[in-house]
């Protein structure tokens, strides 16, 4: 079942300018890089570890169901260069994160590549995107 976020903003812009660039670990094969959506919800976990940092978010679906999202970012070394720290996001934070969603409709997305990050707003504050 494809995920339907409420609210979800689908943009044709804000793509990674280096869409063909290299991740630190893998490419973009599993994602729809032509699409950007905004995942809004509550952070349940922020994994600051190799090979990629991951933000886990509980978001409300269109039907009121809770969707469990995993949004990948760059590795900790790259995120540090983007101005983030392990404490930039904490469980319980309110978050609105742009992401390229998984092409198969899974609640997975890529929000950061190396040190470039799509827009991520935590508790009303926009984090560094470098």
């Amino acid at each position: 079942m494809k995920s339907r976020l409420l609210p979800a903003v689908v943009l044709a812009t804000a793509l990674f300018t280096a869409a063909s660039a290299t991740y630190a670990h893998h490419g973009t094969a599993g994602y729809d890089m032509s699409k950007v959506i905004t995942v809004k919800g509550t952070v349940t976990k922020f994994d600051w570890s190799n090979p990629h940092c991951v933000i886990y978010v509980d978001a409300k679906g269109e039907n009121g169901d809770v969707q469990h999202w995993a949004l990948e970012l760059g590795a900790p070394t790259h995120m540090t260069r983007a101005g983030w720290t392990k404490s930039s996001i904490k469980p319980g934070d309110a978050i609105a994160a742009d992401t390229h969603p998984a092409a198969n409709g899974a609640t997975i997305g890529t929000t950061g590549m190396q040190s470039s990050v799509l827009k991520v707003v935590v508790n009303g504050v926009t984090l560094s995107t470098k």
């Binding site: 079942m1 494809k2 280096a18 063909s20 660039a21 290299t22 991740y23 630190a24 670990h25 893998h26 490419g27 973009t28 094969a29 599993g30 994602y31 570890s49 190799n50 090979p51 990629h52 991951v54 995993a70 990948e72 590795a75 900790p76 070394t77 790259h78 540090t80 260069r81 998984a102 092409a103 198969n104 409709g105 899974a106 609640t107 997975i108 190396q114």
Partner: protein, 263 residues
């Protein structure tokens, strides 16, 4: 009795001469004249941390650095068979399904030619007889024996046996003795144990390092080829890019695998 006297006199004479001999051996250099050490050979300076410059290079084939047509590489049948079996994470054939990239799947060392294709940093430690290169990704390092010849029968190892020399402003590194467990590049192009790799590092300006990689592997490729990649001097210290199997497996399970199942 007389002989003893002569010996005694000679001994006395030698003893008396010792201070003079010592003095002559310790005469300081003439004031105002500094003795110069022999001129050292020119050693180009590669100091600093080198990071990606922004341009994507996924392989060393000069006509297709991003790897948009990886099947057009001049492969032998041996190499082509292995290439077709590869399921790479990057390039035109990139996939998340059934990945068999040895780095992504097993945390194997990337290998000498492929490590430069990742967006991570590296640095040199230049000593007189050996140059070390430290790579941020997977925290791998290698040693380059300077001005030495290759051994006659090197082991087959992940990083090979490297010897190096300076040619003007260029560090030339010649490596043989590879095992065939690494990929040559991000696209799944293989190499054999016969791989002969030559790296040429040249500091174009203070902030720019150019690397030319020449691949000569007659078992895998019908001709040798040379690719180029440019790096920029970084202000960011090298971080911890360790590849951990436990972390890799967790990421595979939580992020990669869900994207490959049909919804």
């Amino acid at each position: 009795m007389r002989d003893r006297s002569i010996v005694a006199a000679l001994a006395l004479l030698m003893t008396a001469s010792l201070p003079l001999l010592w003095a002559q051996s310790s005469v300081p250099p003439e004031a105002g004249k500094i003795q110069k050490a022999p001129a050292a050979a020119h050693v180009p300076d590669f100091s600093g941390v080198w990071g990606p410059s922004g341009k994507t290079v996924n392989n060393w084939f000069p006509n297709d650095p991003r790897g948009q047509h990886p099947e057009q590489a001049p492969m032998t049948p041996w190499a082509e068979e292995r290439f077709k079996a590869a399921r790479p994470p990057f390039g035109a054939n990139q996939t998340f399904e059934g990945i068999n990239d040895p780095v992504q799947k097993y945390c194997d060392p990337p290998g000498v030619s492929r490590v430069y294709l990742y967006p991570w940093e590296f640095t040199f430690i230049q000593q007189q007889d050996v140059v070390y290169v430290l790579y941020e990704y997977t925290r791998t390092w290698r040693s380059i024996a300077m001005n030495k010849e290759h051994s006659k029968d090197p082991d087959s190892t992940w990083l090979g046996e490297s010897v190096g020399r300076y040619e003007g402003d260029t560090l030339v590194v010649d490596t043989i003795g590879f095992n065939d467990k690494t990929w040559l590049d991000h696209l799944g192009h293989p190499h054999s144990e016969a791989l002969h790799l030559v790296e040429r590092f040249r500091r174009v300006d203070h902030n720019t390092l150019e690397l030319q990689v020449t691949v000569d592997d007659p078992k895998a490729y019908t001709k040798s080829f040379t690719g180029t990649k440019v790096f920029s001097l970084s202000t960011s210290p090298m971080g911890e890019g360790i590849c951990s199997m436990s972390e890799t497996e967790a990421f595979q399970k939580n992020v990669i695998d869900p994207t490959t199942t049909k919804k």
